[in-house]
């Protein structure tokens, strides 16, 4: 759209002087802030440390409610595969604690800082609120799949708990997973509990070279349909991180199993291409780049889209969009996740991207674009009216005064 302000591209900024930032020291204080805001109908921006502030629709409020001071791991029982932490706890601290017990979060949360040009320490609450998942999502599920329990303050200023610390729990409505990906619009998370898994002893990655997008998706599909438990399946077309196209399949586990499975999988995929094997160190470094979308960080003035679709539909979708938008892209999740960079001018491709995604029964999220663009176009995929009606009713049931991060996902929600 004309007049997009590219100067404020990297981080969303509100003039510091006019902002009030609440950093409650405990849950009760957070509840007071929200109850007060609800009584006065003053909207609050909800954030942890703000590293993903530039994700979602552009919103601007005078008052900010941050979970940064609600920090600390409250429970880690390695033998029970569970960790709980206050929402403002840095993700790095959670990962360090788990690392000491040779454990990890199953869903490999990505780090958005490079892509969004932000700084600070991502928090575990922010991970939950944005349902942040990385390449291992295809094997181990999304963030929401490991999200066992939450404490949050609703828009009435009431403290609510849902779920718990055990893996199997069907007691009552699953408000925990509802919070995942709600960007704080339904509740201010104060404490989150996650299932964890043992860290694999080692990893290796098979690299198939020179495949077209179509052949690559077929190869990834064959790999994911094999019994070898592929834990990462990405395709980097020519020009993405290297001159030639690379199709990647990651295997993780005990040393002996990874050795065997690497050979067996290479044999199973022989018809696609001969495979090269990356050792654990090379594999880890490359998958970090895939996870954090490093390949598309520059040039910084491009818009970035994240498109979710059934893997087999990805090649057709790219055929349509790639040419129309002069885009660069790569695929994760076996083809089910398309990261696409295109020009940020105009609507940053919103119309064609959403339309192409809709036609292939997928959906698109505008991850990076100037504030003015994010304020003007559909950042999240528009949904049919009956679902929007439910969306508004759910919002109303948790935040009747509409004070929690209003408009971050959809206008009026």
């Amino acid at each position: 759209m004309p007049g997009a302000d590219l100067s404020s591209f990297d981080a969303t900024t509100v003039p510091e002087a006019s902002m009030t930032t609440h950093k409650p020291q405990n849950e009760a204080e957070a509840a007071c802030v929200i109850a007060d805001a609800a009584a006065r109908r003053i909207p609050l921006s909800i954030l942890g440390s703000g590293t993903k502030r530039a994700l979602g629709r552009f919103t601007q409020t005078q008052d900010v409610l941050s979970s940064a001071a609600l920090a600390g791991i409250t429970l880690h029982e390695p033998a029970e595969l569970v960790i709980a932490a206050r929402a403002g706890t840095p993700l790095a601290e959670v990962e360090r604690k788990l690392g000491e017990a040779r454990q990890q979060l199953p869903f490999e949360p990505m780090d958005y800082r490079a892509l969004l040009g932000t700084s600070g320490e991502p928090t575990i609450g922010g991970v939950a609120a944005t349902n942040l998942s990385g390449p291992r999502r295809i094997k181990s599920g999304a963030c929401r799949d490991s999200f066992l329990g939450a404490r949050f303050v609703n828009g009435r200023g009431e403290v609510v708990k849902s779920g718990g610390r055990v893996m199997k729990n069907v007691t009552g409505l699953d408000l925990t997973r509802l919070m995942a990906g709600a960007f704080g619009t339904l509740g201010f998370l104060t404490e989150v509990t996650f299932k964890v898994v043992p860290s694999p002893e080692t990893q290796a990655t098979l690299v198939l070279e020179g495949l077209s997008d179509r052949r690559a998706v077929a190869a990834l599909s064959a790999g994911l349909g094999s019994p070898f438990e592929v834990s990462g399946a990405a395709h980097l077309p020519a020009g993405i991180g290297a001159a030639g196209a690379r199709t990647l399949l990651r295997l993780e586990g005990f040393e002996s199993a990874v050795g065997y499975r690497t050979k067996a999988l290479a044999e199973a995929l022989r018809d696609f291409s001969a495979a090269r094997v990356l050792d654990a160190q090379e594999s880890e470094a490359l998958w970090r780049e895939v996870r954090d979308v490093t390949f598309l960080v520059s040039p910084r003035d491009t818009a970035i889209w994240r498109i979710s679709v059934a893997p087999s539909k990805a090649p057709a979708l790219i055929d349509t969009l790639g040419a129309e938008l002069s885009a660069r892209w790569f695929l994760d999740w076996g083809g089910g996740l398309i990261w696409l960079a295109c020009g940020a001018e105009g609507d940053a491709g919103a119309l064609p991207v959403h339309e192409a995604a809709r036609l292939e029964e997928g959906h698109a999220l505008l991850v990076r674009a100037p504030d003015a663009v994010r304020a003007a176009v559909d950042v999240f995929q528009p949904q049919p009216e009956p679902i929007m009606k439910l969306t508004r009713a759910v919002k109303q049931s948790l935040d009747p005064a509409a004070v929690l991060e209003p408009g971050r996902i959809y206008a009026g929600v």
């Binding site: 029982e77 390695p78 033998a79 029970e80 040779r102 349902n131 999502r137 599920g141 799949d145 009431e158 609510v160 708990k161 849902s162 718990g164 055990v166 893996m167 199997k168 729990n169 069907v170 007691t171 009552g172 409505l173 699953d174 997973r177 509802l178 995942a180 709600a182 339904l186 860290s199 002893e201 599909s221 994911l224 349909g225 094999s226 019994p227 005990f254 002996s256 199993a257 065997y260 067996a264 979710s308 059934a310 087999s312 999740w333 089910g336 996740l337 029964e361 959906h363 995929q381 949904q383 009956p386 679902i387 439910l390 969306t391 009713a393 759910v394 109303q396 049931s397 948790l398 996902i409």
Partner: protein, 476 residues
């Protein structure tokens, strides 16, 4: 006799029964409406057979559009609805009420689409759990959640209760394997939530619907993830001299970084009951037994088993018995999966379903025995040890009202114990009517009020399965 109350039926609805049945006949084809008393009686209960209510009528729609037409009509008439799949709920989730119409999706039992390239299957809600695996087995795939009733239970019911099973330790429960649903809302509106893509835009309404016990809408179709089976799988029996030793071994295995695909626990009474039924070769001279299943190639299974056996030996294992053939494997699982049915041959029982942190298992097992003994009853324990999902079976005589009351009291005490130990009331069977009045033990008023407000966002008039989940006196 019944301790659990149903809401008083709406007399005005009962009085309009003929008119409502005529209305249902107008929107459904011939044979879609069941109204004769003896035929309705087949729908009066589910697997919680101590409670029964004959519904106003039963409808058997054959398509999403028919479900939609029925819901639009009943919504306009203000008539409550009891959704039903195969009627195997252990918590009374499918038990109707006198003034409700049962909407049973059993006739919607087609597998609509199998897509191996994208590893998904789209099925109608009445398809049985096992039929999904059967439809994809020829390509070496399976559908992971495996409740013991998988031969009979429907995927619609599995979604309603967010069902689990023995193999959830590695593969997760229904909500982790469900990608989308077609849902008919209370007013007949049809919506698609999720789909073949791995994540969906906006709020995770699919997560809300899964486990909502039919209170947010009627699921008519599901898109589920299918997985490629491992190269091989082998269960091994480990006998221990005490429950504590078996529990400690479970914790040590997980602590060592090993996640077997299943770790099932049985105590001595359960072992005997299941062995008598299935002749699976279970050891009868031990106090506790673990069935641990490993997966992978021969070499991988050997390596993982080697590690597990070493840990078991450190914890005083007295018997180790590996399955040597596919037939032995089938028998071992038959014994475990028929635990409830086998128990039903020796006594009536109620089956509890609380989950506790695995570190609390020895304590909770000991207290469970004490609680049941203090009511003068017996208990057999079989459960999913890896995730702490307990299934104490309290044995009693259903024809003795006093024993039934005692069994229910003991069950309630055990569930309170699970919550106190840091766990929850139900791990995979659902709240239903059975645990409805205990919800206040686990949740505060604010917690429950919030859940009910979200529920009302979908069904403001409380027409969908209204007798369930939320204590009657907690509603405003």
């Amino acid at each position: 006799m019944s301790e659990i109350a149903f809401p008083a039926p709406d007399r005005k609805i009962l009085a309009r029964r003929d008119e409502i049945i005529a209305g249902l006949r107008r929107v459904l084809p011939e044979g879609g409406v069941i109204e004769k008393l003896d035929e309705r009686r087949a729908f009066e209960t589910d697997a919680l057979t101590a409670y029964r209510q004959v519904p106003l009528a039963v409808v058997l729609p054959r398509s999403t559009e028919e479900v939609s037409a029925v819901m639009a009509y009943l919504h306009a008439q203000g008539v409550p609805v009891t959704p039903r799949g195969a009627g195997t709920s252990l918590s009374g989730g499918a038990i109707p009420q006198e003034d409700s119409v049962v909407v049973c999706v059993a006739k919607m039992s087609r597998v609509l689409e199998v897509d191996f390239a994208n590893r998904v299957a789209r099925v109608e809600a009445g398809v049985t759990n096992l039929a999904i695996s059967a439809a994809v087995a020829h390509e070496g795939f399976f559908y992971a959640p495996d409740p013991s009733s998988q031969l009979a239970c429907s995927i619609g019911g599995n979604i309603g209760m967010n069902s689990g099973g023995a193999h959830c330790l590695k593969y997760g429960v229904t909500t982790n394997n469900l990608l989308g649903v077609r849902l008919v809302l209370v007013d007949g509106t049809i919506v698609d939530l999720g789909g073949a893509a791995l994540d969906a835009p906006g709020y995770d309404l699919l997560a809300l619907v899964c486990g909502a016990e039919g209170q947010l809408g009627i699921v008519t179709e599901a898109t589920v993830r299918i997985l490629r089976s491992a190269e091989g799988a082998r269960p091994v029996l480990f006998g221990f001299p005490s429950s504590e030793a078996a529990g400690a071994a479970v914790a040590a295995i997980i602590g060592d970084g090993i996640i077997p695909v299943a770790m099932e626990f049985m105590d001595a009474p359960a072992i005997r009951i299941c062995e008598d039924f299935a002749h699976a070769g279970y050891p009868l001279d031990v106090e506790a037994m673990l069935i641990i299943e490993v997966e992978g190639s021969e070499a991988e299974m050997e390596a993982e088993l080697g590690k597990i056996i070493a840990i078991a030996e450190r914890h005083g294992v007295t018997v180790i018995k590996e399955s040597k053939s596919a037939m032995e494997t089938a028998l071992i699982w038959k014994g475990r999966k028929s635990a409830f049915g086998a128990t039903g041959r020796v006594a009536d029982y109620i089956c509890m379903d609380g989950t506790v942190p695995t570190g609390q298992l020895p304590h909770v097992l000991r207290r469970t025995s004490e609680i049941v003994a203090s009511h003068g009853l017996r208990v057999a324990n079989v459960f999913h040890a890896g995730d702490g999902n307990m299934h104490p079976l309290i044995l009693y005589n259903v024809n003795d009202p006093q024993e039934q009351r005692k069994a229910e009291e003991a069950g309630a005490d055990i569930l309170k114990l699970c919550v106190e130990a840091g766990g929850c009331l139900t791990g995979e069977h659902g709240v239903g009517i059975e645990k409805r009045d205990l919800m206040g033990c686990q949740f505060s008023k604010a917690d429950l009020d919030q859940q009910m407000r979200v529920r009302q966002a979908f069904d403001p008039a409380w027409l969908l399965n209204p007798a369930k989940v939320f204590p009657l006196d907690a509603r405003s």
